[in-house]
């Protein structure tokens, strides 16, 4: 089993975490002994660790727990007298109603905040259920912009939403294209339409690329799951666009890129926006050929941040992939714990207020200082990556770049 956390029981993890804190306390036994009078603060962690989204959900859970482990190890919530964070784990089973049920359990158990719940539809249900009980809820992934547009005062998303990512994708592409001497005239979009996360991409792209004289010549939508991409490959062969812009989940991403390979479809570049596979280490390691030179505008950590790299090491050590799920959930949890620290209280309202007013800057993401507007962190932004060799390098924006874009890709 790749995912160790999954194999640990909830109890043994909590025990482990407590043991960690105890050890940390023992490590500083030379100092006056700090008696932890404060009760632990309960934080709910909901993810779909079973069902269709199980892989991503488990990755998310690992990230969130890593954050808790880290904070507990470094002395817990200081403003609460070093109170430990007690993680209450919930499994949404990849179903919205089960996710909402988990929130009820957590409300019962008296959690102070909730972090979760990966998929947009589950997030919609969990944030609403949490709102009913006034529990602050930090959304880790859930890119649908509906999540933060319902006026729920308890809901916060630290990462960027779909609209912001697509806009950044356009800007990033234009920059890469310009640097290469504007070779792109036509693009084709291939997006998934089942969960709707690729919906709306065509409009934003068409509008954004038009000023640079780039035409969106075709939009090809497909369902998730999709077992065959041959038709799309054939159409692309006929249309022969300069650049392909895919936007879909991991499994389809893999199948799509492999089909292009098999059908010898070779555009100047593949530049995905929220491409499920493109900037995932797992894909790069399993299909290095298909992944080569693929660019992707997606969630990414600040590659110069030491904490981010430490987390990467830790993730790899656990046998997991350091994908966006891990660092987004980690960051959402850190954001929550930071708010608890600032609130100096386990009270839900106080934490909500602290989240609203957060200016937190100590994170591992390329976002700058936090500024919440209607629950959305306005500083949140994606980066543009490219697979080069066995690594994934950041190619845009320049202030975070670790590699030079290779575009058009070599034949």
């Amino acid at each position: 089993m790749k995912n160790k956390i999954k194999n640990t029981t909830r109890r043994s993890f909590i025990q482990g975490a407590t043991a960690g804190t105890a050890l940390a306390a023992a490590g500083i036994s030379g100092f006056p002994h700090v008696v932890r009078a404060a009760a632990p603060v309960k934080v709910g962690v909901i993810h779909p660790v079973t069902g269709w989204a199980q892989y991503s959900g488990s990755q998310c859970r690992f990230g969130a727990l890593a954050a808790i482990e880290e904070v507990n190890a470094s002395g817990g919530i200081k403003s609460l007298g070093g109170a430990a964070i007690d993680a209450m784990l919930g499994d949404a089973q990849s179903k919205a109603e089960v996710g909402a049920g988990e929130v009820e359990k957590m409300a019962d158990a008296g959690v102070s905040a909730i972090v979760g719940a990966y998929a947009s539809n589950i997030c919609l249900a969990t944030t609403q259920a949490a709102a009913k009980h006034g529990i602050p809820h930090a959304v880790d992934v859930g890119v649908s912009d509906k999540i933060v547009s319902r006026g729920l005062t308890n809901t916060f998303r630290f990462g960027p939403g779909f609209g912001a990512i697509t806009k950044a994708g356009v800007e990033g592409f234009l920059a890469v294209n310009k640097a290469a001497g504007n070779p792109t005239k036509t693009v084709a979009i291939v997006n998934e339409e089942t969960t709707g996360f690729g919906a709306g991409i065509a409009g934003i792209m068409t509008k954004g690329l038009a000023p640079a004289g780039i035409e969106v010549v075709e939009v090809l939508s497909h369902p998730t799951p999709n077992k065959d991409f041959r038709n799309i490959a054939l159409k692309l062969k006929e249309i022969d666009p300069d650049v392909l812009i895919p936007s879909h989940y991991y499994n389809e991403g893999v199948l799509f890129l492999r089909t292009l390979q098999r059908q010898k479809v070779q555009p100047k570049a593949i530049y995905s926006v929220l491409g499920g596979a493109s900037s995932q280490y797992r894909f790069v390691s399993e299909f290095p050929d298909a992944a080569q030179y693929v660019m992707d505008c997606n969630h990414w950590f600040d590659p110069r941040n030491a904490g981010a790299l430490a987390l990467q090491k830790k993730t790899n050590a656990a046998g997991l992939h350091y994908n966006y799920e891990v660092f987004l959930a980690y960051t959402a949890m850190m954001f929550t714990l930071d708010a608890i620290e600032r609130a100096g209280s386990a009270d839900r309202t106080a934490i909500t207020e602290a989240m609203t007013a957060s200016t937190w800057g100590g994170h591992i993401m390329p976002y700058g200082a936090t500024k919440m507007e209607n629950g959305q962190n306005t500083g949140a932004r994606p980066l543009v990556m490219q697979v080069q060799g066995s690594d994934i390098g950041v190619i845009n924006p320049s202030e975070y770049a670790t590699a030079e874009a290779i575009f058009p890709r070599p034949a």
């Binding site: 069902g51 269709w52 089942t194 939508s221 492999r258 098999r262 399993e286 299909f287």
Partner: protein, 300 residues
């Protein structure tokens, strides 16, 4: 292009032909999965809902043989096919036959129960993540002009023809094959010539499962394995079986190709998502208007 008042996109003949050819390849996969299903239906009158789950299980077996022993998926057939036969035989004799009291609807529910158990056991032990087998000849193949045909696809196509032929030979030349066909229509008569009907039932289920395991070996180089993969094929396999005629191998083969080509062209013209509705529509129409399918025998 306009068709029945619908404004359809128009494509070059190369694209349309390429799509149709890809439908043939896809259809060969459907036919492979449907062969075992139609055999089991023809004799046992079992609409085997566990068929997809068994396909998935066999795909995992092929995957692990590759991953752990480095065994080529096609070679893995030598292990997986007999293994599946034994598993299928035991499943019919030990579970399905015993629990179903011989009633069609109950059999349906029992196989549904079995599929739920198998699928979730796979989820439990293997997790939901996709696992792919990468064969060295993954990208090699033949340029057909309008489309590339890679070896895994060509082998699957050849395999579907070969397995259909082998099944046909088995059913017409061996006593067991004849007994299977005899039992399909006349159980009491079969008992009276000394055929152990329970055994033949289990043998049939075993062979059906072995077929699906052969299909699994041929599928794995193209499709990643995950616990829900069976579901992706099984509904279509039902359509193929119903269209081809329950119990007919040639029907499964022709039905597979027909569905494959229809689906690909449907997706080409109606869009990838809406295009698959052609399958459901064919399914419903055949069930309503020609439940015996194209090559089916009249029952009764």
């Amino acid at each position: 292009m306009e068709f029945l008042g619908l404004d359809l996109p128009s494509y070059s003949w190369q694209t349309v032909l390429g799509s149709a050819i890809s439908g043939v390849f896809l259809g060969s996969i459907y036919a492979l999965v449907a062969l075992g299903l139609t055999l089991i239906y023809g004799v046992l009158h079992i609409i085997n809902f566990a068929h997809g789950a068994l396909l998935m299980l066999a795909m995992y077996a092929v995957f692990f043989l590759w991953k752990l022993l480095g065994l080529d998926p096609y070679l893995a057939m030598l292990i997986v096919v007999p293994g599946a036969y034994i598993f299928g035989y035991g499943l019919q004799r030990g579970v399905i036959g015993k629990a179903s009291h011989g009633r069609d609807e109950i059999i349906l529910l029992v196989t549904l129960g079995v599929s739920i158990v198998i699928e979730n056991a796979a989820l439990f032990f293997f997790s939901a993540s996709e696992r792919s087998v990468l064969v060295p000849y993954d990208l090699d193949g033949i340029d057909l002009g309008v489309t590339y045909a890679v070896y895994p696809e060509l082998i699957a196509l050849g395999g579907s023809l070969l397995i259909t032929f082998a099944l046909w030979l088995f059913m017409s030349l061996t006593d067991t094959g004849k007994a299977i066909r005899a039992v399909a229509k006349e159980r009491q008569g079969a008992r009276l010539v000394g055929i152990n009907v329970d055994h033949i039932f289990a043998v049939t289920f075993g062979i059906g499962t072995a077929c699906v395991a052969a299909a699994a070996s041929l599928l794995v180089p193209t499709y990643a394995v995950h616990p829900q993969i069976g579901y992706l094929f099984v509904l279509i396999a039902f359509t193929v079986v119903v269209l081809g005629g329950m119990g007919s191998f040639i029907g499964a083969l022709v039905g597979g190709f027909l569905i494959g080509v229809t689906e690909q062209l449907g997706r080409l013209y109606l869009g990838e998502s809406m295009g698959v509705i052609t399958i459901s529509v064919i399914f419903i129409l055949v069930l309503l208007f020609r439940p015996t399918g194209l090559f089916g025998q009249r029952s009764g």
